[in-house]
Symmetry: C3
Subunit: 204 residues, 3 copies
């Protein structure tokens, strides 16, 4: 399930989901079509870009991968033109978005390992890869980033990353540890949203 | 027209225009003089900085080029002290700003080629070079970036970049392709503003 | 006073102060605990991160220094749980914050020298190291960064950096020049806040 081809497929599905999520958010703010495309793009590749900048792996990934850019562009255009139909797929989109979150987190974590960072930094890098697209999107749209206000979005990434290293320490095979961690992030996010769980806010 | 000296002159004029544009925007938000200088600086060098970070050409350009920093500083100080007179030059400024947009876009595009990126990525890099100074300025000033809301600012850069590669494919000499593309961006921006053209917004 | 161990101690104290400052600001905006941690983290390491990205020293410093991350985390957690007591230490915190500002500015300036930048760029890099954690914090929290609106915060960094190079030019020994410059930034910031000095705003 996590051999190269499958991972590519899930990365593409995650990218599509993030692109649609960005497109919808931007249309709700009444941007013009170009602005919508930029926001779709930023939501999809923002996390990986911040990751690559922080570890110094430049040119950043999407600059070397025209395919991903084409996918984002086509997805965003389709979402713009068929917005009514796409809105009905809300639950499907949410599932892809959550799966994308899990997979992007794992991709970032593995890239951290490849760059010789220690496990806690790899978890941070994975979380950044999964979440910072949304952070940049919200900052550009002039609102406090959603992950700072709602749901334990990023917490799911952190716990999933910890689970991965825990499983490795328990001698679980690498490929299963990956599948478990991705599934855990995916499932935790769904449970949290379904039961409207969130961390308590501060009363300062 | 695009030999080294002329290109330097136009880069300087573009930098001056962007610096004045940043100064005025910041003064309208009632920042203190230091804040105004920072915003002038960010508007002028923001696009090139993001470009250099994304392709990994560090230290970024302005850190190695004291002359550009001095030009921004002096321009911003003059704009602050002679604000009444400078405001009368509104149309002149707009022309410089548009010329700067065209030239910065071409500079970014050529840098992308020098780093071995494919044409579509070079166009993206050119657009970022031309537009992201304004994006960062607006984000810091806590408003949705202008290019996401108005005019086909960035679209002009993209079309200009496409024109450049189209002309090259038609065997037009490189120097003429550059001049045509820069002029096209310059002219398109002026036409768009003059006739108040803009992409339709979304009603979501 | 500025040998390696003392400088480490002051860097740690500065990091603690910035972490607490970030924690308090985030709690006032009613973020959830995870958001508060992120803001504490960003406030503490934002300046150094921007510095390292601009000069291309990647992976950025905090990714190679787990100790600093642990300090930020523990400090932020303590500040969250003992918020009433910590608030009483307001003046102590302000002193640490000002000392941290001086020291971070000097660290950035010295790193610029080590990368062969000229003195004016070193001063800019020092100012960025001292101030940009707060800029990113304010941008994420959706308000115009404090340093653009109030106090001559960044101006203190710039003047301190100039003083350092002036003292070197006067053949003052390097170690004393550092102590003088750090103390100057520290003292200037306190005087400015105590007497509510600020640069005049623009009436545009």
């Amino acid at each position: 399930m996590v051999n190269f081809n499958t991972s590519e497929v899930i990365e593409i599905l995650g990218t599509i989901a993030f692109s649609i999520s960005g497109t919808f958010t931007a249309m709700q703010r009444r941007l013009d079509p170009f602005g919508v495309l930029i926001i779709a793009f930023v939501t999809s590749i923002g996390g990986g870009t911040v990751r690559d900048l922080l570890i110094g792996d430049t040119p950043v990934a999407w600059m070397r991968d025209t395919q991903i850019c084409a996918i984002i562009l086509v997805t965003a255009l389709i979402a713009m033109f068929f917005k009514t139909q796409v809105k009905k797929l809300r639950i499907t989109l949410f599932l892809f978005d959550s799966l994308g979150l899990g997979f992007f987190t794992m991709l970032g974590l593995l890239k951290g390992l490849a760059f010789g960072l220690n496990p806690s930094m790899c978890i941070v890098l994975g979380t950044i890869t999964g979440c910072f697209g949304g952070v940049i999107r919200d900052t550009l749209l002039n609102r406090i980033p959603l992950i700072f206000r709602k749901e334990i979005y990023a917490t799911a990434c952190i716990l999933g990353g910890m689970l991965y290293f825990l499983l490795l320490a328990l001698n679980v095979e690498s490929v299963f540890a990956k599948v478990f961690a991705i599934t855990f992030i995916f499932a935790l996010r769904i449970v949290v949203v379904k039961y409207k769980l969130s961390l308590p806010k501060f009363n300062f």
